[in-house]
Subunit: 183 residues, 4 copies
């Protein structure tokens, strides 16, 4: 079963970003992918800040990424860009740590005016990491994410439709990667 | 005496980036500025990663930035962008935490091909923080920075000249900020 | 009297962008600046597309920019960026054609989600041209620009206030440039 | 036979960029693609600058792009970004004029320090146009392109190897697009 690793970079516990990533993880599992999650704030802070790449929790996380066929990256937008929390993890990956992988970038934020941070700010970092295919991502306004008492979320209908399309395109791109082309 | 705060975002101890920032700090002191330094990796990692903005060391750092007339921001370039370490600190500043301030962005890196990360990647974050004037920055190739036994550095002659011009322009921009205009 | 050159890059005649630039020009004249305008679409298209820099109309336009103390650059946002029309003119300026100048970037557009194109897309080009100070710019939603029968425009009240602040900051930055610093 | 359209945006006649695009076109034809070319500077300048989308030569060019399975976009880098010539054409495409298409971005330039203009500056425009997959592009230093008397070019060996890899990845991505996935 192909492995998808979902990496979340919000500094707040129980963030909307994490809930969104979890929901997408559930949908991907239903479509016959193995999904493993890394919440960067759960890794040891000083190891990340000091680039202590031999730290056991970091090594385990790096190993997950290395084995992944595809990666979902979820971040809130702060100061018109991805979070330092997420980037502090990506910084420690090997130079081409996303080589051969399909990547889905997702962002949450409080204002529509930061949408382009995904394509202008984040995508170049993912290209630098050698991602094989960064599919079209999605920005979700915080207020369109409604939390349920069981921890799950409900998205406003229109954005849920767009998310479905984004996931469909991502899944197809991952599957195409795994198909052998006639030589 | 006007206050300049120098913030460095390298995850490695005794980095070239830190040595470069220290040298610039010395030059600014000689030009009658008070210079205070923040090395983000010396702040508590978990406080940064968990957005624990009430942490005493973070509050002290934020207070320095708030009081600054100008800020020097120094970062190595990782994955074609500023470090997560530096961004994790900037993320916790108030929304317009650089309002009214003159800002000098500096980067070090191993390849000339990442130069534009300063203008394309970093500058938009500084604008988002409301910086009054982000002056022309400088990218310094690692190999042009030669460490001395006393911890200081010597820059290759041509890049030292360019740094002198950048500092001169920065100093003039800070001074212009402090001059009262005839109304 | 200091000279400000206002360059507009909309491909459509009588565009909102042009009307906005004209209004700002009037306000700057009232504040004792000479204002000259370049509407790129009025220049000979083939000269621009063929980099015919000896063309008389282009040389006249380049000369205006060279003499300018400050430049206002206005563009609609197309495909999440400044227009090709505007860039085709900037491409033919000397390598550091904005050196020593204060620059005000303005954009109009149909969706708030393109705001960051100014800071992420346009500002790096202006830095590359050596601009001394690119002040904080402004994005104006098309629908907040109401045309009057006399060709002038009325802006929605809130955006007019923000424009006033942007112009005030620009004017002060230009004036600071022209003040001799005590040596 | 799948159709690839090659669009070149250099303002100079017989540019290295055009010669590079032509060479890639020949290689793609040998791999069983139909290749059609658009050299934007050959289109009527005033039609581009005035957004005269009903112009016959423009309509013909738009129609080619619409029919294309994949697009190669080649530009010299001016002022740290793609040319205005190229953008003035892209500006007139429909909002999602690259939807469903695989896109290969290529740039030429005089300095390695502008490499990131591809990922930071150009790629966001291509995403905005709805490109299905923007594959990894290539920047080629002018001096690594040697013209032959017959108009063809010879690339320095190392960059030719990298170009071969880029073309191979592009070709595979186009072919994957055309394979029917098992539903």
């Amino acid at each position: 079963m192909p492995l998808i690793v979902s990496i979340t970079g919000s500094p707040t516990a129980n963030s909307r970003t994490l809930a969104l990533a979890a929901q997408i993880g559930r949908e991907l599992r239903q479509r016959d992918f193995e999904v493993q999650s890394i919440n960067v704030r759960d890794l040891p802070g000083d190891d990340l800040l000091h680039a202590n790449v031999e730290s056991a929790p970091l090594r385990e996380a790096f190993s997950l990424v290395e084995r992944a066929d595809a990666v979902v990256l979820s971040t809130p937008l702060y100061k018109a860009s991805y979070t330092g929390v997420l980037k502090s993890f990506l910084d420690l990956l090997p130079q081409f740590g996303l080589a051969g992988k399909v990547v889905l970038p997702l962002a949450t934020g409080g204002t529509l005016s930061h949408v382009l941070a995904l394509d202008y700010g984040f995508r170049p970092v993912l290209q630098s990491l050698g991602a094989q295919h960064v599919v079209g991502g999605l920005f979700v306004l915080d207020k369109l994410i409604e939390r349920q008492t069981d921890g799950s979320i409900v998205l406003e209908a229109e954005i849920q439709k767009r998310l479905d399309l984004v996931i469909e395109d991502f899944v197809q791109s991952v599957r195409r990667r795994l198909v052998a082309l006639p030589s």
